[in-house]
């Protein structure tokens, strides 16, 4: 990697981190296409670097959510038994899949992300605290700035575990956090309030990505310079994005970014078809 390329990768990583913080996205949907389409990295190397970036951004923001009590740590750990398993198998599968299959799968993911970004979020009813299967996963947090305490329980653990297995598989296979599956599942199926679902999903991402990252690392698909450049850039970008939130019209930004994702999805399909290098 040349120094000039490293600076370019750093730029895209800062952008990914900032947009991730502003739009509630993992940086993977920006980093993987940038590394493959702009810098010509093979899909597996891009996914490996993205997984490291995902761990960095999740670790950074999770410490805040844990301090605020927004992350439901017990629920996260129960679901992590499924996401880590999915991530492990997803990463193993990615090592054996051909480039065009991964590029096409990423194109589908981008289209779904664009649709998800433009669709109106539904809010589920909060479940009252109580046992859920063999566990008591009830939790509470304080709404700011009113200081109102929100107490909630969890339901449908089995369905949540199944969806978490799929989200983990997507993380390991494509190098993304899987929040676009976990957050709606926790909110709509399991009755977790939206803010807590986002924070719990974010908390889970680090361990989920870890299982996949170990596989990519062991099989030589994570190069230190590339992964560290991306991780440092995403972390810096997330800090910038957090400061910009509230000052930028997130709705307009979402519409523009959804359009960009559709274009990038088309490029990924062209790459899968062999029309792009």
């Amino acid at each position: 990697m040349e120094l000039i390329a490293a600076l370019g990768i750093l730029f895209f990583s800062v952008l990914a981190g900032a947009l991730g913080a502003l739009l509630g996205l993992g940086g993977g949907v920006i980093i993987v296409p940038a590394l493959t389409l702009v810098f010509g990295y093979p899909m597996q190397f891009a996914i490996g670097a993205s997984l490291i970036a995902v761990i960095a951004s999740s670790t950074g923001s999770a410490s805040y959510y844990v301090e605020e009590g927004l992350s439901n740590i017990r629920l996260a750990m129960v679901l992590e038994t499924a996401t880590t398993l999915g991530s492990l198998f997803g990463a193993l599968l990615a090592l054996f899949l051909q480039q065009w299959v991964l590029a096409a799968a990423f194109g589908v993911l981008l289209l779904y992300s664009a649709y998800h970004m433009l669709s109106r979020p539904e809010e589920a009813c909060i479940v009252p605290p109580g046992p859920c299967g063999p566990f008591d996963l009830s939790c509470s947090y304080e709404e700011r700035p009113e200081g109102k305490k929100v107490e909630y329980g969890v339901k449908n653990l089995g369905r949540g575990m199944g969806a978490s297995l799929g989200a983990g598989g997507m993380a390991g296979l494509l190098g993304v956090g899987g929040g676009i599956i976990k957050v709606p599942v926790m909110n709509l199926w399991m009755g977790v309030p939206m803010r807590a679902a986002c924070a719990t999903s974010n908390f889970m991402i680090g361990v989920t990505a870890l299982a996949g990252a170990i596989i990519y690392y062991e099989f030589g698909n994570i190069t230190p310079t590339l992964a560290a450049t991306v991780a440092v850039g995403v972390f810096a970008g997330a800090a910038i994005g957090t400061r910009l939130s509230g000052k930028i019209d997130a709705l307009s930004l979402k519409k523009v970014f959804a359009a960009v994702m559709i274009i990038v999805a088309a490029l990924m399909f062209l790459k899968a078809a062999g029309a792009l290098p």
Partner: protein, 110 residues
Amino acid sequence: MPALNRYIRLVLLGGMGASLVLMIIGLMLLAARPDGWQDVTLGPVEAFNAIAQGNPVGLIDLGLMLLIATPLARILVALGLFLRGREWKFVAVSLAILLVIVSAILLKIH
């Protein structure tokens, strides 16, 4: 703040801070070298050898390993706290996650 949240937060902040410092210093030293960037993958032992030889890639690799180890450390901390609180169901959950991660580590060896 409950002890579980307090200790996990400390692990996340510590791991993130230390790994970022190592990676940033390593990247800056690498950028200052006349022979440019090196896209090499190092194992844990090789990383320490590289640091001893003054190769910044070793520093970067160590930072990466620390970053990767941070989520693992928070599972270990949670396991310790669940054991102390005799929350056996969550002890089992923590051990199940560790089992998957250890399986991932052992896959290459076998």
